[in-house]
């Protein structure tokens, strides 16, 4: 809540003392009234904004949460679902082990990786080095949680996986705040590797706001 709004009008004291005690008293009581009105306004505005934010936030849960077990997901199209799930599970393990090299090996040599901040990494080496920095720094000791939204094979050698995910320490969070798309391909050695990855953080309050203002933007599965 803003306090500068309250103090601003009284910040400058009168340059000269009021001529009479009566004028001084009425001036002071006027200032007191103004001050009280401002405090009340700030309170109402603050509570409305805060309450509105909390309400938006509390009512913005998604219905489509996916499945924590990749092999419970029914894939569409022709391909080896369990092999694709194996790659994703190796990714989670490499993260948990803090092993950037093992993490990077799950990507193709020319893979692209776009983070939720919009940073764009090109190639396995870039991805490996960035994760070496992350897993040894900001994200040291974290684990990766994911929940699979869908698995589609575009052919026997290419798959799309969509998921929700998050990093965490301690117990696995109920709500996964980010959304991902993985494009995987089966390479000549038979291994499934990630050719492209992108991550986006859900802006749940902004999303809810747009759903309220433009109900047509709500996905069918969230109606």
């Amino acid at each position: 809540m803003s306090t500068d709004r309250i103090t601003l009008p009284t910040a400058t004291p009168p340059a000269t003392p009021p001529a009479t005690p009566t004028a001084s008293r009425s001036g002071r009581s006027r200032r007191r009234t103004v001050k009280r009105a401002l405090v009340a306004t700030a309170l109402v505005l603050g509570l409305t904004a805060g309450g509105g934010y909390l309400w938006l936030s509390a009512t913005s849960d998604v219905k489509v949460t996916g499945s924590a077990a990749c092999t419970d997901v029914t894939a569409t199209g022709p391909g080896d679902r369990d092999a694709v799930c194996g790659t994703l599970s190796a990714l989670t393990s490499a993260w948990g082990d803090g092993d950037a090299d093992a993490y990077g090996r799950l990507f193709t040599q020319d893979a692209t990786y776009t983070t939720y901040l919009g940073t764009h990494y090109q190639g396995r080496q870039d991805i490996t080095e960035a994760h070496r920095a992350l897993l040894g720094g900001f994200l040291k000791g974290t684990r990766l949680a994911d929940s699979i939204l869908g698995i589609r094979f575009l052919g026997p050698d290419a798959a799309l996986v969509t998921s929700r995910g998050d990093t965490y320490t301690g117990s696995r969070p109920d709500e996964l705040t980010k959304v991902q798309t993985y494009t995987l391909v089966r390479e000549d050695d038979g291994g499934w590797r990630i050719a492209a990855f992108q991550n986006t953080q859900r802006q749940s309050v902004m999303e809810k706001g747009s759903f309220l203002l433009a109900p047509g933007t709500v996905p069918r599965a969230e109606k």
Binding site: G118, T119, Q122, F138, L160, A196, G216, V218
Partner: protein
């Protein structure tokens, strides 16, 4: 050096992206959606998850009639790759705008396209992320290993 078939495919994929921009400029939700596969997924920069062409068409109808009314789409392709024949991955930067095309495009996208049985390339997956340059700069300062090789 690209093979003839690959350069033909590059042109075909680029044409899909151009049609996407045209459809957005016409505010044509049906035309926009027709460039996606029936079961396409679309993740917006707010993190909303849309499934299927109908979802994509209806949400864009709402956008073109509201928030994105009268806007145009700007994009700059970063690269087009064919990890396996018949599948393309495109990375691009993009933005919506009114008036003059912005110099700096604030969002970044991955498109995965597939050549369908009718020979047409369509978008099977799209994801958009808004860049957060301030947080990015802070993370680079604190962990210089995070700077992508292309920016060294």
């Amino acid at each position: 050096m690209q093979s003839t078939s690959e350069s033909g495919a590059t042109a075909a994929v680029q044409a899909v992206l151009n049609r996407l921009i045209d459809a957005w400029g016409r505010q044509d939700a049906e035309g926009y959606g027709a460039l996606f596969t029936e079961d396409a997924t679309y993740i917006s920069y707010v993190g909303t998850y849309y499934q299927g062409r109908r979802d994509i068409v209806e949400s864009h109808r709402a956008l073109f009639g509201g928030f994105a009314k009268g806007t145009r789409l700007a994009d700059a392709v970063l690269d087009i790759r064919f990890p396996v024949p018949g599948v393309a991955v495109v990375n691009g930067r993009g933005d919506t705008y009114k008036g003059k095309r912005p110099e700096r495009l604030s969002k970044i996208q991955t498109y995965t396209l597939v050549r369908e049985d009718d020979g047409e390339w369509r978008i099977a997956a799209f994801q958009n992320t808004k860049r957060r340059p301030l947080m990015e700069a802070v993370s680079y300062r604190l962990a210089p290993g995070l700077v992508p090789a292309a920016q060294h």
